[in-house]
C-alpha cells in the first residue's frame, strides 16, 4: 500500500468515525429532552429555556408522574410476566414438534402460523372484542375477558404463538436429530425426549422469547386500548392519557414516559444480545 493510499485510508477512517458520532448525538437528542425536561420545576417551563439544563433540579414531576402511572405499571407487570412465560411454554412445544416431531402437512401449517405474525391486528379487533364480551357473558365473569387483564393476556399469548414458534423452531433445528433418535431408541417417548434432550439446551431460545414477548406486551397499545377498561389499563394507555391531557406539564409527561420505558430499557441494557437475536428472528433469519 502506498503512502497516499494509507493517508486516504486514515482520513476515511476518521470521517467514518465522525459521521457515526454525529448520528449518536442525533439519536440521543430525544433522551436529553426527556431527562432534562423531567427534572425542571414548573417555574422554568418557559419556551426560552426549552433546551437549557434545569437551574434547580427537582424530582417533583417524577413524584406526581409516579403517583399517576403506578396502577398502570402494576397492570403491565400482571400482563407482561405471565404473558411472556405462557408464550414461551407454547412456543417451545410447537417449535419442538415442528422441527423434530413433524407430522404430514407441518410445513403448510407453519406457513399458516407465520401469516399470523404479520396480520395487522386491526383486522381481528372488532370480532375479538365481541368474542371476549361473549366469554364474559358465558362464564358470568364480568370484566375478566373483556375489560380485564386475563383477556388481554389471552390475546397476546395467542397472537404471540407465531413468532414464539418461529424462534424456537429455528433454534431446535440446530439440535442434531441423532440425539432425539438415540433417546427414542432408549425407549423415550416424545415428552421424555423433550425433557431430557431438548429442554436442557433451550436456555438461549427461552431468553430470546421471554425478552421479545415481555417487550412487545409491555409496549403494546393497540390491544390494550381496545380490550381494557380504566381499572385494567396498562402503562401505555395510562401514559397516553396523562400526556394527552392539556393540563399535564411537560415535565410530568417526560417523567412518565421515562418511568414507562424503564423496564424494557433495563432489559435491553442487561440482555441486549438476546434482544438482538429476537429481532433477527423477526426477520425470518433464524
Amino acid at each position: 500500500m502506498t503512502a497516499v493510499a494509507g493517508r486516504r485510508g486514515a482520513v476515511f477512517q476518521w470521517t467514518r468515525f465522525g459521521v457515526l458520532c454525529l448520528f449518536v448525538v442525533v439519536f440521543l437528542i430525544p433522551i436529553y429532552v426527556l431527562l432534562v425536561t423531567s427534572f425542571k420545576p414548573l417555574t422554568e417551563a418557559d419556551p426560552s429555556q426549552a433546551w437549557n439544563l434545569p437551574r434547580t433540579w427537582t424530582v417533583e414531576a417524577w413524584r406526581v408522574a409516579w403517583e399517576k402511572l403506578a396502577p398502570g405499571l402494576w397492570n403491565s407487570v400482571l400482563l407482561a410476566v405471565p404473558g411472556s412465560l405462557l408464550s414461551c411454554a407454547l412456543g417451545s412445544m410447537n417449535g419442538y414438534v415442528l422441527s423434530k416431531w413433524r407430522f404430514p402437512g407441518a410445513d403448510v401449517l407453519f406457513t399458516l402460523f407465520l401469516f399470523g405474525m404479520f396480520i395487522p391486528y386491526q383486522g381481528v379487533m372488532i370480532p375479538l372484542v365481541q368474542l371476549l364480551v361473549g366469554l364474559n357473558d358465558l362464564t358470568g365473569l364480568d370484566g375478566v375477558f373483556y375489560g380485564g387483564i386475563p383477556g388481554l393476556v389471552l390475546a397476546h399469548v395467542v397472537y404471540g404463538i407465531p413468532i414464539c414458534t418461529l424462534i424456537f423452531r429455528n433454534y431446535y433445528v440446530t439440535i442434531p436429530t441423532q440425539l432425539i433418535e438415540a433417546a427414542r431408541v432408549d425407549g423415550a417417548g416424545m415428552l421424555r425426549a423433550y425433557r431430557s434432550v431438548v429442554l436442557p439446551v433451550s436456555g438461549p431460545a427461552i431468553a430470546v422469547v421471554v425478552i421479545w414477548q415481555f417487550t412487545s406486551l409491555w409496549n403494546d397499545f393497540l390491544f390494550a386500548v381496545f380490550l381494557t377498561g380504566p381499572t385494567s389499563w396498562p402503562t401505555t394507555v395510562m401514559l397516553n392519557n396523562i400526556a394527552g391531557a392539556q393540563a399535564t406539564p411537560y415535565s410530568q409527561q417526560m417523567a412518565a414516559a421515562i418511568l414507562a420505558s424503564i423496564p424494557t430499557m433495563v432489559i435491553y441494557v442487561l440482555l441486549g444480545r438476546f434482544f438482538m437475536r429476537g429481532l433477527m428472528a423477526g426477520a425470518l433469519k433464524g
Partner: protein, 293 residues
C-alpha cells in the same frame, strides 16, 4: 409416509395452538370480513348482508381519501428513510470500527421504547410554535439559523414529519439487519473479485450488494407492514386530529366515537388486504426457499 403412531403425539401437542390460531387469526379475520359486508352501522342494528357496498361507499368519504394518502406519504418517507439511514450506519460500521458495540447499542435502543413514549418526546420536539413561542426543534433550529417548520401540522408534508420518530425508532433495526448481511458475505468472494481487478466500489457493487438482496427484502416487508398499520405513534403525537389521520386511527374513531362496527370492519379489512398483498407472496417464497436449501 411414516406411521401415524410416530407423528400423532406431535400433532396432539400442537393442537391447542392450531385451534387458537384457527379461531383467533383465521376465524376472526373471516368474521371481520363478514361484518364488513353487512349494514350493521350501529351496535343494535341487525346487520343485513350488503355485499361489497361498504368497501365502495367508503371512497365517498373525504376523510378516507385523506387517511389513505397520508399513509402513502408516511410509508414512502418512513421506509426509504429507515432503509437509507440503516444502510448508511451499517456501511460505515461494516469493516469494524473502534467502539462498535457502543455505536450499535445506541442506534438500537430506541427499539426497546414504546411508540407511545416516543410519540410524547417527539410531539415536544416537533411542536409547531414559532418565534418567541418556539420550543423543541424549532427553538433549536432558531439557534442554528435554520428555518422553522410546522412539522406534523403542515397541510401537505405533515406525514413526512410524522415519519421522523418512526425512522428514529426503526433505523437501528435496519442497521442490525444490514450489518449481519454484510458480515455474511464471505471474505474469499471479495478477495476473488479484487484479484480479478475489481475496485473496492466494484466489489461492493457486484459482489456485496447482490448478496444483500434477501436482507433488503426482509427489511422492506417489516418496515412496510409496520407502516401500513401505524397507530400508536400517531395517537401519541397528535391524537385523533384529521390532519394526521390514518386508516388505523380512522377505524378506532369509527368503533369508539361513531359506534359503527361495519365501517370499522371495512377499514380494518382494507388494512389487512394492503398488508396481505405483499406479505403472503413473501412468506410462500421464503418457506419454499428454506425447503430447497
Amino acid at each position: 409416509m411414516r406411521r401415524a403412531r410416530t407423528w400423532l403425539p406431535g400433532l396432539l401437542l400442537v393442537t391447542p395452538s392450531i385451534i387458537a390460531i384457527g379461531v383467533f387469526v383465521y376465524g376472526l379475520l373471516g368474521w371481520n370480513f363478514q361484518l364488513a359486508m353487512t349494514d350493521k352501522h350501529s351496535q343494535v342494528a341487525e346487520g343485513e348482508f350488503v355485499g361489497l357496498k361498504n368497501f365502495v361507499d367508503i371512497w365517498d368519504l373525504p376523510r378516507w381519501h385523506l387517511s389513505v394518502s397520508h399513509t402513502i406519504l408516511f410509508t414512502v418517507v418512513f421506509v426509504l428513510g429507515a432503509l437509507l439511514l440503516g444502510w448508511l450506519l451499517a456501511f460505515l460500521m461494516e469493516k469494524g470500527i473502534r467502539g462498535e458495540g457502543t455505536f450499535r447499542a445506541i442506534y438500537l435502543f430506541p427499539m426497546a421504547i414504546s411508540f407511545v413514549a416516543t410519540g410524547i418526546v417527539w410531539r415536544w420536539l416537533m411542536n409547531s410554535g414559532t418565534g418567541e413561542r418556539a420550543v423543541g426543534l424549532n427553538r433549536l433550529f432558531g439557534y442554528l439559523g435554520l428555518p422553522e417548520w410546522q412539522w406534523f401540522r403542515d397541510q401537505d408534508w405533515g406525514m413526512a414529519a410524522m415519519a421522523l420518530p418512526a425512522i428514529w425508532q426503526m433505523s437501528g433495526y435496519v442497521m442490525a439487519l444490514f450489518l449481519a448481511g454484510f458480515r455474511g458475505v464471505p471474505e474469499e468472494l471479495r478477495e476473488a473479485a479484487r484479484v480479478d481487478g475489481c475496485t473496492e466500489w466494484g466489489v461492493y457493487r457486484h459482489v456485496v450488494l447482490p448478496l444483500l438482496r434477501p436482507v433488503l427484502l426482509s427489511a422492506l416487508i417489516i418496515l412496510g407492514h409496520i407502516s401500513l398499520k401505524v397507530f400508536d405513534l400517531i395517537v401519541a403525537v397528535s391524537g385523533k386530529q384529521i390532519i394526521t389521520d390514518v386508516p388505523a386511527v380512522f377505524m378506532w374513531v369509527a368503533v369508539f366515537d361513531s359506534h359503527d362496527p361495519a365501517k370499522g370492519a371495512t377499514i380494518a379489512a382494507y388494512i389487512v388486504v394492503s398488508v396481505a398483498i405483499f406479505v403472503i407472496p413473501y412468506l410462500i417464497w421464503s418457506v419454499r426457499k428454506e425447503r430447497t436449501s
